[in-house]
Symmetry: C2
Subunit: 302 residues, 2 copies
Amino acid sequence: MPGEFDFIRWIRSATPAAVGVPVGPGDDCAVITSPAGPLLVTTDVLTEGVDFLLAECGYRAVGRKAMAVNLSDIAAMAGTPVAAVVGVVFPNRAADPEELHLGLREVADAFDCPIVGGDTNSWAGGLVVSVTVFGTMKPGRKPVLRSGAKPGDRIFVTGPCGGSIRGRHLSPVPRLKEADALADFVDLHAMIDISDGLSKDLSHILEESACGAVLFAERIPIHPDAMELAKSSGNTPLAHALGDGEDFELIFTVSADDAAKLRQSPPVPVFKIGECVDGGLWLEEAGKRTPLAPTGWAHDIR
Amino acid sequence: MPGEFDFIRWIRSATPAAVGVPVGPGDDCAVITSPAGPLLVTTDVLTEGVDFLLAECGYRAVGRKAMAVNLSDIAAMAGTPVAAVVGVVFPNRAADPEELHLGLREVADAFDCPIVGGDTNSWAGGLVVSVTVFGTMKPGRKPVLRSGAKPGDRIFVTGPCGGSIRGRHLSPVPRLKEADALADFVDLHAMIDISDGLSKDLSHILEESACGAVLFAERIPIHPDAMELAKSSGNTPLAHALGDGEDFELIFTVSADDAAKLRQSPPVPVFKIGECVDGGLWLEEAGKRTPLAPTGWAHDIR
């Protein structure tokens, strides 16, 4: 049965070149050509029981997450959000539009992204929240795609990863300011936000860029949540950092020269975690390279 | 419990004037100010069991309807669609992304509206399809809002109404060409598409425009589906035309002079059904005016 990848690929394959610049099927945003410059569009659907447990987290947290994950996609293109629209299907049993709205607004306001419209429905089923955000690029800045990584590039991440399920996945901070500062400072070759998992999302970059990568195990910043989780999960903290997902940090690649600039005076905290190579995905640990299978969320339709 | 109206009102009340022109809480599209002119955005969420019966109509029809109702909202502003994004939650039991995609594409292609992105999810629940369409205005043309009707305006509809539940509601034709031709020909004071019901949607115009209307019972074009339905429903064909909804025809108002122009040489078929007055909603039948309670879909969250 076809998964998300196919669905999105069909969609993108049908987009006239005049409308959008060529983007990969998995780029974080679609890019539309307009007289005012490139327009970014992204949409994410959050589903009860899959993306959140409503009874545990409540409406406000759902609102926060739904807005944040979309803004994170704008960040991954180094874009600036302009506005959002929201579609909601409320469960009859427990609709709380006000709390949902407060959560959406909290995050939207923090990043100057007004919610300009929406639609609601209700049914006997669970809660579904669909947010669409559009954005623009600062004058002269091009959208950062997944397809620009080159062998020799250095790979960075904006923060520690793993264990987000302990709570962080509900209130991610979209790295808009970080992406903006980085795009002003260096030439970002490729970028993506971590939703599926560090190794999985990096593999999306590699796929679109037709290159490989080696990750340095000791350099990967591991979140305390991953340490905590590893105590009972049977997995290592590193495995959690590589595969848990929903960290919503940014992975990006830059030239060796720009990596040196970042090392000298980083405009925001960044962690160098690896380098792009000709092919494959590798983990280097204590001087030894072994193949790394990307782990993380798989978008199959089950 | 608050209904859709409140949710959308909250949303709109939070929109900075710099971002959007002042539109009513129920306008068909949000209007965003951009360097390239006004940008229209609309989103509609279709929910299994509420907007369609998947087992009866199949995925392709759902795709068609989901795209058409959004394009209809662009038509109601006299806008031109630019692109669409789609969010879907598939039921695990029976996902058919390809059929859904074909239905979406069929309508999108017919109106030159490429689908540029999307997101999918899956769960044990029912099918949810959320479509967001954005559009622009032809140079020099302003978005037609609901708030521009004036006493003395003539009220028109673009086609016969009622009984759409017999099947038409699944394959509405967005009146984009009609709206475009009308906007080129006359000064459209107010416009809306019929989703909730002729009388209900007209009442949205009256509310936003702070005026009233009288409808001429004999002039309201009644669809054969309404006649057929009336045979068994216990309602009159007129009641079906006034309250069934999902006709996706356009209701609009123009000055008396423009009404005369339309009578002389209509660029597309239009039916004059009434006039705007100072207050109230009235039905005139055989020369007698009686108050008319708007009937149609109520957006309560039940």
